[in-house]
Symmetry: C2
Subunit: 235 residues, 2 copies
């Protein structure tokens, strides 16, 4: 689609984009080096065009982020809709939440922007709807249903934000592994006064080398059993 122009002045090309390509490359940048890597200049270079051209597709960086987020949430939504489904709505809720969480594990930057603006994020709304539909199968009031879905999304986002924060550079360039980094923290904790920090000492071994997915699963399970009790259904 790109064309030659102005052969006399050296044959500079004009780039020809599309909403799709802009979003795809934006997501690629986010995937490769996280949120700070997505700048208009980096994106323009990748698209082989000028900085200002991006503003034809998008009014601001906020909108770019929203659209990029919604773009990948679309894939998550497809995964969720492809889920088999069972006779237990709570099992289905768990499967959906795990699917969403897995997507955020693959793309840590998602955590910060997911569900920020349902206006420009139509796929997020659809996902929200899908989660909510499972609560329609439970014996709850509308009030309880609303809060149940909020709670589940809250658990996902809460866990995701924990992992979403940029690792401290030393870990990004591979100078130290994640295990080393956690271990360093654990060591500092072990040197605290056991009288003053009995709990920290109790769990320091659990913290050292812990798995984020386990942590999320446990948190999710607590809310789900709470929800199950509230709905009065048998496990």
């Amino acid at each position: 689609m790109t064309r030659l122009q102005n052969r006399a002045t050296g044959g500079r090309r004009r780039a020809s984009h599309s909403m799709e390509s802009v979003l795809t490359e934006a997501v690629a940048l986010l995937d490769e080096a996280g949120a700070p890597a997505l700048t208009f200049r980096a994106l323009a270079q990748r698209l082989g065009g000028g900085v200002a051209s991006i503003y034809w597709y998008v009014d601001s960086k906020e909108e770019l982020l929203d659209r990029a987020t919604d773009h990948v949430i679309g894939a998550v939504l497809a995964d969720v809709e492809r889920l088999p489904g069972s006779d237990d709505p709570i099992d289905d809720l768990r499967a959906m939440a795990v699917t969403l969480f897995d997507a955020i594990v693959d793309r840590p930057w998602l955590g910060a922007y997911f569900m920020r603006n349902t206006e420009a994020q139509s796929n997020s709304l659809r996902l929200y709807e899908r989660l909510g539909q499972q609560t329609l199968r439970l014996d709850l009031t509308a009030h309880q249903r609303f809060h149940a879905v909020s709670a589940i999304v809250g658990v996902v986002v809460g866990s995701a934000v924990d992992m979403g924060q940029e690792p401290p550079a030393e870990i990004l360039d591979g100078a130290v592994s994640r295990e080393e980094f956690l271990g360093r923290f654990a060591q500092a904790w072990r040197e605290l006064d056991p009288e003053e920090y009995p709990f920290v000492h109790e769990i320091v071994d659990e913290f050292d080398g812990h798995d984020d997915v386990d942590q999320f699963r446990s948190a999710l399970e607590l809310t789900l059993t709470g929800l199950r009790l509230q709905a009065g259904t048998r496990p």
Copy 2:
């Protein structure tokens, strides 16, 4: 503490700060207009000094944010330690979580930075310890205790992030109230296809004019009942 100097050249003053004053003014800026308002230039102007002076107290903006966050978490910790305490550790956990959440309601910017870096945030670690101590009174494994506290913190952060995002400017300058803004969303939702969005229609009235604190309380209650069941204690 400020002194006069160089009277001959017009009597320009030299400002004299302290870690305390820097942090206090930084928090004041955050409180007044949110995270984007805290810039080194704005802070310097408020302190009546130069921009570079702040770098004597702090090595980067990240450290400034960490220290400012820990500064106010110190007050939260004091509130938590002032809590009466009961014979039910889960009741105490709830009271602590609510205290923390209330602090974030007052200072929405807290949500984004709380628990980001326990290295420079000693008060956060103390708060984490205080929460964990309650789980020591429950019949749980160390593994379960670790996950329980993570879950509770996750619920707080998850709810806080929801509210922590900057309102879209129209609401900041008072052009539209929060109720109007929510109502606009609700109206858009009501116009969706009821066949395709049954859940959204079910809860749109709950969403319209909903209270963030209620939402948080419900989510917290679900995890707490889940935890209670896990510990096998009677309510």
